[in-house]
Amino acid sequence: MAENLAPNWRLREQRYQLVGNVCLKCGAKHFPPRQVCTECRGAEFEPFPFSGNGELYSFTTLRQAPSGFEDFAPYAVGMIKLDEGPLVEAMLTDVNQDDLEIGMRMEMVTRKIRAEGERGLLIYGYKFRPSGD
């Protein structure tokens, strides 16, 4: 039987479209979406699709990849400060690691994150790359 179908399916909107949420009490925007606002402790939210644009806040290179990601190693991961506020951690793509610079403009792209083995689900989601802006 295929595994991990429901957990991956539940995350499809945030993974494919970078949908977070916005606090209806104070207007703070969150990604990933939260159930309690970290700014005001509010508990009412609306979905909020982020633009996917931001700048590179920090980055490093993963050489010892976790299970399921071995084929990609070594690969860069980064923290991206989205234009709307939140910091997002993500794999970086379409870039030579020597060319990464803190502060460079980044954009979200949808890429294959990993595969659940030879027979299982292909998992897609957001990565970031330099936008060239």
Binding site: Y16, P49, F72, K112, Y124
Partner: protein, 348 residues
């Protein structure tokens, strides 16, 4: 063929991966001749790319130019011969990524290299019949070529997406289309096989040339067109030689063909090949230009379309990355990296 309701291209978008391998590098590995390559170099998908991810990016570019809400799309159709799943649609992932899921059709199309234009024909019919206002048609491939086979030199990666909609909102209005198919077994891939088989020279005269020439001649005759009526023409491009030869036989000049001829730089992108040639032409066309689009798919058949560019292209074509942006971002790799990226290494 022409729908009762006038239809056109409302948005379009290209995608090409950033990696390239030179045909001469492939020849170096297999001891091939250094001269007479079918193309200069081809695009290679990265480890995290496939027909789904590439379709998503091309579709986002098309939607940016279309300037419509994804929820008004009533079809998301992906034509390819490299769908990541044998069973499970690529199109539902693309629809979900665009925010178009829910009240929409979604399906994957298969007709070798003309799967994308077949989806375009269907999208035209869906909008033209007023069953829908907008439909998305994509042709995209990460083409497979067996190591040491002639196809390995040309099997590239890339494609394009088109939002079809009412003519009054179009960047290019459809004048008519035509399709011509026969059962011609020039190229195929059986179930569970990783690489396709082909008929070498049989892919030429009885397949590519017979179908593209017949389809184009029939279309031009029915529409009362001559080659001089077109500013630009795009032909399916499995290599650099076939489209130049076919277009010359039909009476087109090299100047009409070159802007839509990308095969030397990205390889044969199969279901995406003619459609991405068209995006490069649209990126540079002027309002009033008439464009001929001719696809070919093994098995075999050819779709032909005539579009006239409208004034709207001027303000909308720079709302997304141009085809030239994807052609210019180019990271050259050697055969070893190519083998890794294309999963050709045996890990034991």
């Amino acid at each position: 063929m022409k729908p009762k309701r006038d239809v056109g291209i409302v948005g379009y978008g290209a995608y090409v991966p950033r990696y390239r391998i030179k045909a001469s590098e492939i020849a170096r590995v297999w001891g091939g001749a250094e001269e007479g390559m079918p193309i200069e170099e081809k695009a290679v998908p990265g480890l995290d790319e496939d027909t789904i991810t590439m379709s998503v990016e091309a579709a986002r570019n098309a939607m940016a130019r279309a300037q419509i809400n994804a929820q008004v799309l009533r079809a998301v159709w992906v034509g390819s011969e490299s769908h990541p799943y044998a069973v499970k649609p690529s199109s539902t992932v693309v629809a979900e990524a665009l925010g178009a899921s829910g009240a929409t059709l979604a399906a994957d199309w298969q007709f070798a290299c003309k799967a994308g234009t077949e989806a375009m024909q269907a999208a035209i019919a869906l909008v033209g019949s007023e069953m829908a206002d907008y439909a998305l048609a994509i042709g995209m491939d990460t083409a497979q070529g067996r190591p040491h086979d002639a196809l390995e030199y040309t099997a590239g990666a890339g494609g394009a997406a088109y939002v079809m909609g009412p003519a009054e909102n179009a960047l290019a209005v459809l004048e008519g289309s035509y399709s011509y198919v026969t059962d011609t077994p020039d190229f195929f891939r059986r179930t569970h096989q990783y690489y396709p088989e082909h008929g070498n020279r049989f892919t030429g005269e009885p397949a590519y040339f017979a179908h593209t020439l017949q389809a184009t001649r029939n279309f031009m005759e029915r529409m009362n067109f001559t080659p001089r009526d077109f500013q630009w023409a795009i032909f399916h491009q499995p290599n650099a030689k076939f489209p130049l030869q076919a277009s010359a036989q039909l009476g087109f000049t090299r100047d009409q063909i070159v802007p839509g001829l990308l095969v030397n730089r990205i390889g044969n992108t199969y279901a995406g090949a003619s459609l991405i040639g068209m995006t490069n032409v649209l990126d540079n066309a002027k309002p009033g230009d008439r464009i001929l689009l001719v696809s070919f798919g093994s098995g075999a058949g050819s779709d032909v379309f005539s579009y006239v560019v409208t004034d709207k292209i001027v303000e909308r074509r720079d709302l997304a990355k141009r085809t030239a942006w994807y052609l210019a971002r180019r990271e050259l790799i050697d055969y070893a990296l190519y083998a890794r990226f294309r999963n050709k290494l045996v890990m034991n």
